[in-house]
Each structure stands twice: as structure tokens, then as C-alpha cells.
């Protein structure tokens, strides 16, 4: 069967994209998840992954061409993929759900049916599709400012935010990092934000209510931590790509994944999944920013952690005042999912880790 590959929508209000370059050619066998093309929006280029498996019959879109979202950019032969699907155990599904599933190209094996004998009903599919639809990303869109405005307005309108902040001394963490970096080859030097993110990920593991999506009136915790990181582009605008699967990374890998993400964001080599599948976000104002930042949650996520500028301030220790490095860490969270008590405990856990950096190992 022929499958018409559509120009994907990479966020709110994107109605067209410029096909910059093909990464495949006629006759290639394409795997699911393989990068097939680069598409340019006003602020950034995004690598497009294939959602189907098949042989490339035709590249319809020409490099440099502007194409509307949904229009065909290529045609694949997906016969082998269909054969595999046919060989798979038959899934119980209602006719209405089957019709919608075919239209949406949904992999039925990933859906749990709520009908008798586990039959997949239309409502199961609708709920699955709603969850799977990428949130309106404030990034990588034709008009980035307009898109940010829309997504953030939606967030503020729909999500009852609450905000907490805690001030944490970083002297112990800096000392620990200095010792580590002395021993590491320069190219593997740990970055301060990577170390802070590692601590945050560990705290998320203890407080899973902070990581996931609020959809259809219910919270759905996500096992995988795809850590969204707000990155300011020198050309203007902000991208929020995610470090995918950050929960299984050790510090060295998290550090290299973060530097890789920053490098690719600058070179416009981000993948669409990285821009749309974050489960929680960290915003770091950097070394020239303000002392505190209280972010707006990206729906359907339920929490955002803000890292203010690290600076020197008076620190009280054992009844004495001394000068030390501090950071203000904030939490913006969704009151439909958590409350201030849990949020405070979550921040206290982050503080505990920053004050005892050996816990990062």
C-alpha cells in the first residue's frame, strides 16, 4: 500500500514549512524513527522522523519548497509493515475505533481496551490520540512569538499554578564539582546546569507526581523523564527541546546529552520528538539572568522548575554569616495534580541533593 507522508505540524499555528533537505532518496528502506528530512520554520530547522516503515517510492516535495501542513511530501510503499501487522495477533476493536485508528495511523498494540475482553472502544482511542497529540509547542513554529503567546495564555487560563521557591547554598556542590572536573579530561568537564539537572531528575524519581501530563481531567504520570530545557537562541526566541530518557542517564551521559542538545539546537538539528515530548521542564536563566525565575507550565505538563542566577550572598551557617554561592530554585506546579505541601517536599529533596552532592552518584 502507498503511504503519503504528510508535512508534519510542529506546533501551534504552523500552517506551512520549508523543506530544506531530504535525508533519504528514492528506493531507500526507511525505518520507524529514522530522520527523513529537515524542515525549516522561521526560527529553527527541525529534523523530521518517519512514523512508518517502508520503501521510498517518490520524493514529492522539492528541497527549498514551501509546503502546507498535511500536504504530501513523499510516498512510501508500506507493504512489509502491513504484512508484519497482519501477522501480529488480532486486536479486538470496535468498527468505529478501527476506522479512526486507520485514519490516525495508530499502533493498536499500544492501546489498552476498556470494553469486554479488552476490546478497544472508540473512547479508548480518542483518549489515546488526545494524549499522543503533541502539546502546542512554543517553539519551532512559523511565528514563534504568536505561538508562545497562545501556548502561555492557554497555560495560564487552564492551569491553576502555584509557586514555591527555596534558596540553596551551592558551596558544597561547587567543591564537589571542582574535585570531579580536576580528574576529568577537559572535554568531559561537567557543566553546572547538567549537575543541577541531575539532582532535579533524582528528586523527580522520588516525586513522580511532578512528571507527566494532565489530560482529559486526569493526571497521567510518565515513567520516562524527558527533561525539557529552555534554550535561548542567539537569533532570538526560545526553544524547549527535551533530553529524552534522562532518568536512566548517569551524570556523564546527562552532561554529554545536554551539550549535544545545545549544540544541535544552535545548528537547527533538533528532532520533532525532542520538541514535543517533554514531560517536565527546567528553565535556567543563566549567568546574566535574574536571581529568580517563576516559569509558566507547558501544557499538558504539570510542573516547571526555575533556576535563577547563581550568585554570592550572605549565608548563615552555625550562627555565623559568611559569603557563599547560592541559587534560588523555584517550582511552578499544577494545583489540580499536586499541592504546596508536596511541592515543598519536592523542593526540599532537591535541596538535600544539592547540599549532599555525593547523592548524585
Amino acid at each position: 500500500m502507498k503511504y503519503h507522508v504528510p508535512m508534519p505540524s510542529l506546533g501551534a499555528d504552523m500552517d506551512q514549512g520549508k523543506l530544506m533537505a531530504w535525508k533519504i532518496k528514492r528506493g531507500d528502506e526507511v525505518k520507524k524513527g529514522q530522520i527523513i528530512a529537515t524542515v525549516e520554520t522561521t526560527k529553527s530547522a527541525v529534523e523530521i522522523e518517519s512514523f512508518r516503515e517502508g520503501k521510498v517510492l517518490e520524493l514529492v516535495g522539492k528541497e527549498g519548497e514551501e509546503l502546507r501542513v498535511g500536504s504530501t511530501i513523499a510516498i512510501f510503499d508500506v507493504r512489509d509493515e502491513e504484512k508484519k501487522t497482519r501477522e501480529a495477533p488480532r486486536v479486538k476493536i470496535s468498527p468505529a475505533a478501527r476506522k479512526l485508528a486507520a485514519q490516525m495511523h495508530v499502533d493498536l498494540s499500544t492501546i489498552k481496551g476498556s470494553g469486554s475482553d479488552g476490546q478497544i472502544e472508540l473512547k479508548d482511542l480518542e483518549s489515546f490520540v488526545n494524549k499522543g497529540v503533541p502539546p502546542p509547542s512554543p517553539t519551532s513554529v512559523v511565528n514563534i512569538r504568536e505561538a508562545i503567546a497562545k501556548a502561555m495564555s492557554r497555560s495560564k487560563k487552564e492551569i491553576p499554578h502555584y509557586y514555591l521557591k527555596t534558596r540553596i547554598s551551592l558551596d558544597a556542590l561547587f567543591m564537589w564539582m571542582d574535585e570531579k572536573n580536576k580528574l576529568l579530561p577537559p572535554v568531559e568537564r561537567l557543566m553546572v546546569p547538567s549537575v543541577l539537572m541531575k539532582g532535579i531528575i533524582q528528586a523527580i524519581k522520588k516525586y513522580p507526581m511532578m512528571n507527566g501530563y494532565y489530560v482529559n481531567g486526569a493526571f497521567e504520570a510518565k515513567e520516562s523523564v524527558n527533561l525539557g530545557v529552555a534554550i535561548s537562541l542567539k537569533t532570538g526566541g526560545v526553544l524547549v527541546p527535551a533530553i529524552m530518557g534522562a532518568h536512566v542517564m548517569d551524570l556523564a551521559r546527562l552532561n554529554s546529552s545536554f551539550t549535544d542538545l545545545l549544540t544541535r539546537a544552535r545548528k537547527s538539528e533538533l528532532k520533532n520528538s525532542e520538541l514535543t515530548e517533554g514531560t517536565i521542564t527546567v528553565t535556567n536563566v543563566g549567568d546574566l539572568g535574574s536571581h529568580e525565575v517563576f516559569g509558566i507550565i507547558f501544557p499538558p505538563q504539570v510542573a516547571l522548575i526555575g533556576l535563577g542566577r547563581i550568585h554570592k550572598a550572605a549565608v548563615e551557617e552555625n550562627g555565623l554569616i559568611r559569603s557563599g554561592f547560592i541559587i534560588d530554585v523555584s517550582l511552578s506546579a499544577d494545583h489540580r495534580v499536586t499541592d504546596g505541601l508536596l511541592g515543598s517536599r519536592f523542593l526540599a529533596q532537591i535541596e538535600k541533593i544539592f547540599l549532599n552532592p555525593s547523592l548524585l552518584e
Binding site: D171, M177, N181, K182, P186, R189, K234, T259, D287, K312
Partner: protein
């Protein structure tokens, strides 16, 4: 290493990381970020390359305190003299 040698190394590093910056036009006694479009990731890469080229590892607690390139150059110069001994 004397400050002049370190400045030459820095010039090479800037050419690699921020080729748009005219290094000779920078006033090393003024805050770097007010004169050039260098963000914290660029600065991290500068520190990494300086370490590779001079052998001096600059701790983050020091990085956070430098007000300008001059202070960074002086720090590297001083630390490299310990290495040479």
C-alpha cells in the same frame, strides 16, 4: 605562560567558538558579555579549550567570580606557572 601568550591562545579559541567576534577589538578590562554575543555555553567551551591548550583547569567557583577576560588571563598565567614547576 605569560599573559601575552595566553591572550594569543584565547584569540585562537575565540576564532573557533565565536568567529564573528573581533578579538583584537575587545577590551579585556571590561565585562566580556557587554562587548560580545557570548553566552554561558560559549564560555563553558572557552574554559574547556583553555584547559586543553594550557593544562589549567579553572574551577567553577572561580569562573563565577571573573568580571572580565583580564582576570581569567591572570588566573591562567599564575596557575600555569605552578604546573611548569
Amino acid at each position: 605562560m605569560n599573559p601575552h601568550e595566553i591572550k594569543l591562545i584565547l584569540k585562537e579559541i575565540f576564532h573557533e567558538i565565536a568567529p564573528e567576534v573581533e578579538f583584537n577589538h575587545l577590551d579585556t578590562s571590561l565585562p566580556l558579555r557587554e562587548q560580545a554575543d557570548i553566552d554561558s555555553f560559549d564560555f563553558y567551551r572557552i574554559i574547556v579549550l583553555l584547559n586543553e591548550k594550557t593544562g589549567v583547569n579553572v574551577p567553577d567557583s572561580k569562573v563565577a567570580e571573573f568580571k572580565n577576560l583580564e582576570q581569567l588571563i591572570m588566573y591562567i598565567s599564575e596557575e600555569s606557572s605552578h604546573l611548569e614547576i
